[in-house]
Amino acid sequence: MKIEILGMGCTKCNTLEDTAKQAVKELNIDAEFVKVKDIKEIMKYGVMTTPALVVDGVVKVSGKVPSKDEIKAMLQ
């Protein structure tokens, strides 16, 4: 599974990454984390509000930091 965190380096992006990492750990799944900071790459996903969470190329959430449980639901 490939998990991408989209954002130009705001504090919320780091919170999202930490929460997502915890969710992955608790679900015990194998995931590769990529941080996408380049604005051109971010825009390719059609995302206008950051941070955003992308799982296997699909935008799951943008513009807010979801809770750990919400992320777990997105990963399953």
Partner: protein
């Protein structure tokens, strides 16, 4: 009811003497803090529900290929309800331009969105009354319309970084939320904002209470009253580095108004705080050439100073 509670807490609970300077100041502080936090909670919650119907993606579709002027009005109004934070200014800008929103209309949105926000609305309404809150919102929206209109008229498209036009933006579908999800979003958002501003609000109301209780009456008339022609531009200059902190600035401005700062000067100051933010300029540097940033700042500063003088004359 709130006043009775503040009286009970301060005079009975803490045993302070009614009518004393200290008792008065603390009573004022308790009353204002409770009132502001109640209003913040209720209004932010309400505004967030409204906001959940206007995600940036939908706003973009509405504004795409709009005519100028009419489009500027719609953009300035949508700026009030579309959730926006300066950290998203760049992707929002690119998304708008790429989907055919004219440059001037994009600017109307970018100006109104941070300036007319619910935190400023609550603070102004709660501390200075609904009339001043309404004046602030009306002037903010008007400035956003006019400034955006002129930027559109000047045809400055070549001052946008070239890569913006070459970008291909993927299309996302706007997922429809259930009402329960909207409530959830509103709850989270309200919590997030309160967490971010509560300390500033308390400190600022405290400082405001101190000025209210201890500073001599009219001590600002000479410096910030109507007759000092330099007061408005100075207020704007001081406001720029205090970026986007309406929560911390408005309680202090309220006390300064009571001590003789004129209303137009106070309005100009608050607008400079919310609309002219230095970090936002640095962020916008990613998509705008320096000349366009300079023009943007100049038009905005002139409009704010004009608004300040206007209200100093008519009120």
């Amino acid at each position: 009811m709130l006043q009775e509670f503040a009286d009970l807490l301060v005079y009975q609970g803490l045993g302070l003497v009614p009518g004393s300077t200290l008792g008065g100041a603390i009573n004022f502080f308790v009353y204002d803090s409770i009132k502001i936090f109640l209003m913040l909670t209720i209004i932010i919650f309400g505004v967030s529900i409204l906001r959940s119907y206007f995600p940036a993606e939908r706003t973009k579709k509405i504004l795409s290929h709009k005519r100028e002027f009419y489009g500027n009005i719609v953009a300035a109004l949508l700026g009030i309800v579309t959730p926006f934070c300066s950290c998203s200014a760049v992707p929002v800008f690119i998304g708008f331009i790429e989907s055919g929103v004219p440059l001037g209309i994009t600017f109307s949105f970018l100006i109104s969105s941070p300036m007319v926000n619910e935190v400023a609305l609550v603070m102004l309404w709660g501390l200075l009354g609904w009339k001043i809150a309404a004046i602030y919102i009306l002037s903010g929206v008007t400035i956003a319309i006019i400034a955006g209109y002129f930027i559109g008229k000047f045809q400055l498209e070549h001052l946008v970084q070239d890569y913006v036009y070459e970008m291909k933006v993927g299309d996302t579908e706007i997922t429809d939320q259930s009402f329960a999800e909207r409530l959830q979003y509103a709850r989270d958002y309200t919590k997030e904002i309160l967490k971010k501003v509560w300390l500033y609000v308390i400190i600022a109301i405290g400082i405001g209470g101190f000025i209210h209780g201890y500073a001599p009456e009219d001590f600002l008339v000479q410096y910030a009253g109507k007759d000092n022609i330099w007061a408005v531009p100075m207020a704007v200059l001081i406001g720029v580095p205090l970026y986007s902190n309406a929560a911390g600035v408005i309680p202090i401005v309220t006390a300064l108004i009571q001590k003789g700062m004129s209303l137009g000067t106070a309005l100009a100051f608050m607008m400079a705080v919310t609309a002219l933010s230095f970090p936002e300029m640095i962020i916008l540097r990613n998509v705008l050439k320096p000349k366009l940033i300079a023009i943007f700042v100049a038009i905005l500063a002139v409009s704010i100073i004009f608004t300040g003088y206007l209200f100093n004359i008519i009120i």
